[in-house]
C-alpha cells in the first residue's frame, strides 16, 4: 500500500468520527425545537447548530481528500509527491478541528473585535472557524492541490478524470478565500458569502464527487475508462452550466438586485435535468452488471447516491426554487429539509460508498458482504427520509402560516413555531434523528468488522515498491 493510501485511511477515520459528532450536534439542535429553554445560557442553540453544520462540511471534505489520496497513486502508478507534508498537515488539520470544537463548546463567543474573529468565531455561517484555523484550512487545501498537480506533473501523465479534478481544485481552493474579507455592508457580505457556499456545494463539490464516482465505478464494476470519462465530461458541462448561475436562488431577502431571482430560478430549475441523466446512468450500469458485484455495500451506496441526489437536490429543490415559491419558502425549515436530503444524496452516500470500496482492498476480501451494512444502510436512509419528511412539514407550515398568511411578522413567526403541525413535525424529526444515529452505529460497527474474517483467510496484497 502506498503511503498516500495509508493517509487516506486516516482521513476516513477522522471523517467518520466527525460524522458522529455531526449527528450528536444535530440531535441536540433538534431537541431545542422541542424544548426551546434547553441549556439556556449554558449551551445555546446557535452553538449546537454551528457544530452540526461545520462538522458536516469538514467530514465530507476529509472524506473527499481521503478518497483522492486513495485513488491518485492507483491512477498514476506512483507515490504522491510531497506526501510527508500531507501527512504532517493531516495531524495539523485534526488538531485544529479539535481546538476549534473545544473553543466553540467552552468559550462559545466573544465581543465584536479582532480577537474574537481570530481566536473564537469568524461569524460567517458554515465557515465560523476562527481566522487562525481558516488560515490552516487554506494551508491544507493548498498542500492537497500541490500534491495532486505535482504528482501528475512528475508522472508526466494526465487522465481525463484527473484533468477534470485538477481544473476543479483551482476554484475549490480559490473560493474558500471568500471566507476572509471583512465586509461591513451586510448585503455585500452575504452576496459574496453565497459564492463560497453555493459554488462549493452546487458546483465544485459536484464535479469533485463526479470524479470520485468515476474512479469508484471503474473499480467497483470494471466500467471502462472511456465510458466514465465521456459521461464525466457531459455531467460536468451540465452541472456547471446549470449550477453556477443557479447561485441566484439564494439571493432572497438580502438586498441583491431583483434580476438575480429570475436568473437563479431559471438555472436552478434546469438542475434536475442532469440529475435525471445520472439516474438513467445508474440503472444502465446496474443493468449491465445484472446487479452483480463483489462489494454489495459499496454498490448499494452508489445507487443511493444517484437516487438520493435526484430526489434531494432535484425533487425537493424544484419544489421551492421558482421565485414565486422561493419568496415564501426561503429560510424556513423547508430549505433545511432540502439541504439535508441533497447533502446526504449528493455527497454523504458517495463518501460512504468509497469507504467500503477502500476497505475491500485493504482487507483483501474477494466478496464484501455482511448483515450489519444492511442495518446501517436501512436505518440511515430511513432516518434521513423521516427527518426530511418532518422538516418538510414544518417548513410548509412556516411558509403557509408565517409567510403567506402571517405576512412574515415576528408574531407570525412565533405563531407558526407553536403551530401543532410544526411541533409534531419537530418531534418526528427528533425521533427519526435517533433512528439515523442508530444507523450510524451500525455503519461504524460494520466498517470495523466487515471483511475481517475474509482477510485472515486470503493472502495479503503485496505492497508496491
Amino acid at each position: 500500500m502506498y503511503r498516500s493510501q495509508k493517509l487516506a485511511l486516516r482521513y476516513f477515520i477522522a471523517a467518520i468520527t466527525l460524522f458522529g459528532v455531526m449527528i450528536a450536534a444535530g440531535l441536540l439542535s433538534a431537541l431545542y425545537y422541542i424544548d426551546p429553554a434547553l441549556l439556556y445560557n449554558v449551551f445555546d442553540f446557535q452553538m449546537a447548530k454551528i457544530l452540526h453544520i461545520d462538522t458536516l462540511i469538514i467530514w465530507l471534505l476529509m472524506g473527499f481528500i481521503g478518497a483522492v489520496y486513495w485513488f491518485l497513486p492507483k491512477e498514476l502508478g506512483r507515490e504522491v509527491v510531497g506526501i510527508w507534508v500531507a501527512e504532517l498537515l493531516f495531524y495539523v488539520f485534526c488538531s485544529a478541528v479539535a481546538v476549534v470544537a473545544v473553543v466553540f463548546v467552552v468559550v462559545q463567543y466573544g465581543g465584536s473585535n479582532e480577537f474574537s474573529m481570530w481566536f473564537i468565531n469568524q461569524g460567517r455561517k458554515y465557515v465560523e472557524a476562527p481566522r487562525w484555523a481558516a488560515v490552516g484550512v487554506v494551508a491544507v487545501v493548498l498542500t492537497f492541490v500541490f500534491n495532486v498537480t505535482a504528482t501528475a506533473w512528475q508522472a508526466r501523465r494526465i487522465t481525463g478524470v484527473l484533468g477534470v479534478l485538477i481544473l476543479d481544485l483551482v476554484p475549490l481552493a480559490v473560493l474558500y478565500l471568500d471566507a476572509f474579507p471583512k465586509i461591513t455592508n451586510m448585503s455585500h457580505d452575504l452576496y459574496w458569502w453565497w459564492w463560497l457556499v453555493h459554488m462549493w456545494v452546487e458546483a465544485t463539490w459536484e464535479v469533485l464527487i463526479g470524479c470520485l464516482m468515476a474512479w469508484s465505478l471503474m473499480e467497483l464494476m470494471g466500467t471502462s475508462r472511456r465510458i466514465v470519462e465521456t459521461w464525466l465530461y457531459i455531467e460536468v458541462m451540465l452541472v456547471l452550466g446549470t449550477g453556477i448561475l443557479g447561485l441566484g436562488h439564494h439571493y432572497f431577502w438580502i438586498g441583491t438586485p431583483q434580476y438575480w431571482l429570475s436568473i437563479g430560478g431559471f438555472f436552478s430549475a434546469l438542475e434536475p435535468l442532469p440529475l435525471l441523466g445520472m439516474v438513467v446512468h445508474a440503472v444502465y450500469d446496474a443493468g449491465t452488471h445484472h446487479m452483480k458485484t463483489t462489494n454489495r455495500p459499496a454498490f448499494y451506496w452508489v445507487l443511493a447516491e444517484a437516487f438520493g441526489n435526484f430526489i434531494g437536490a432535484g425533487v425537493f429543490g424544484f419544489m421551492m426554487t421558482l421565485p414565486q415559491i422561493n419568496l415564501y419558502s426561503h429560510g424556513t425549515q423547508w430549505t433545511v429539509s432540502h439541504g439535508h436530503f441533497a447533502f446526504w444524496g449528493a455527497y454523504a452516500c458517495g463518501v460512504i460508498a468509497i469507504m467500503y470500496l477502500v476497505l475491500q482492498r485493504t482487507r483483501s476480501a474477494e466478496h464484501f458482504d455482511s448483515r450489519a451494512w444492511k442495518w446501517g444502510f436501512g436505518l440511515l436512509n430511513l432516518g434521513l427520509v423521516g427527518m426530511v419528511g418532518g422538516l418538510l412539514i414544518a417548513g410548509i407550515t412556516q411558509a403557509i402560516y408565517e409567510r403567506a398568511e402571517g405576512g412574515s411578522t415576528l408574531q407570525a413567526f412565533v405563531a407558526a413555531s407553536e403551530h401543532p403541525w410544526f411541533r409534531s413535525a419537530m418531534y418526528a424529526r427528533f425521533i427519526f434523528g435517533i433512528v439515523f444515529a442508530l444507523g450510524y452505529f451500525a455503519l461504524v460497527y460494520d466498517l470495523l468488522a466487515i471483511g475481517r474474517r475474509a482477510a485472515v483467510a486470503a493472502p495479503t496484497q503485496a505492497a508496491p515498491a
Binding site: 435525471l276 438513467v280 414565486q324 415559491i325
Partner: protein, 97 residues
C-alpha cells in the same frame, strides 16, 4: 399567492420532477431487461408528467414566462432517458468493438 395555491403549486412541481425520475428509471429498467411493460410504465409516468405540466400551466398562479419554461422543460424531459440510454449504449458498444 394564497397559501392554498402556494402548497398546490409547490406539490405539483415536486411531483412533476418525481414523475420525470420515475419515467427515467422505468424506461431504463425496461431497456435493460427488454421489457415492454416496464418501458410502457415509464411512458405512462411521462404522460402523467405532461398532464401535470398542463395543470400547472392552466391552474397555477406562476408568471407566464415560468409557465412557458415548464412547458418547454416538459418536452425536454421526454428526450433525456432515451437520449442518455442511446449515448451510454453507443459508448459501451464502441468500447467492446
Amino acid at each position: 399567492m394564497t397559501s392554498a395555491a402556494l402548497f398546490a403549486t409547490s406539490a405539483a412541481l415536486g411531483l412533476l420532477v418525481l414523475l420525470g425520475g420515475a419515467y427515467g428509471v422505468l424506461y431504463a429498467l425496461g431497456a435493460a431487461r427488454s421489457s415492454p411493460s416496464l418501458t410502457g410504465a415509464g411512458y405512462a409516468c411521462y404522460a402523467g408528467q405532461l398532464l401535470l405540466v398542463l395543470v400547472v400551466c392552466l391552474g397555477s398562479p406562476l408568471a407566464s414566462l415560468w409557465k412557458l419554461f415548464m412547458a418547454v422543460s416538459g418536452v425536454v424531459y421526454g428526450f433525456i432517458p432515451p437520449a442518455t440510454w442511446r449515448l451510454l449504449d453507443s459508448i459501451h458498444h464502441n468500447q467492446l468493438q
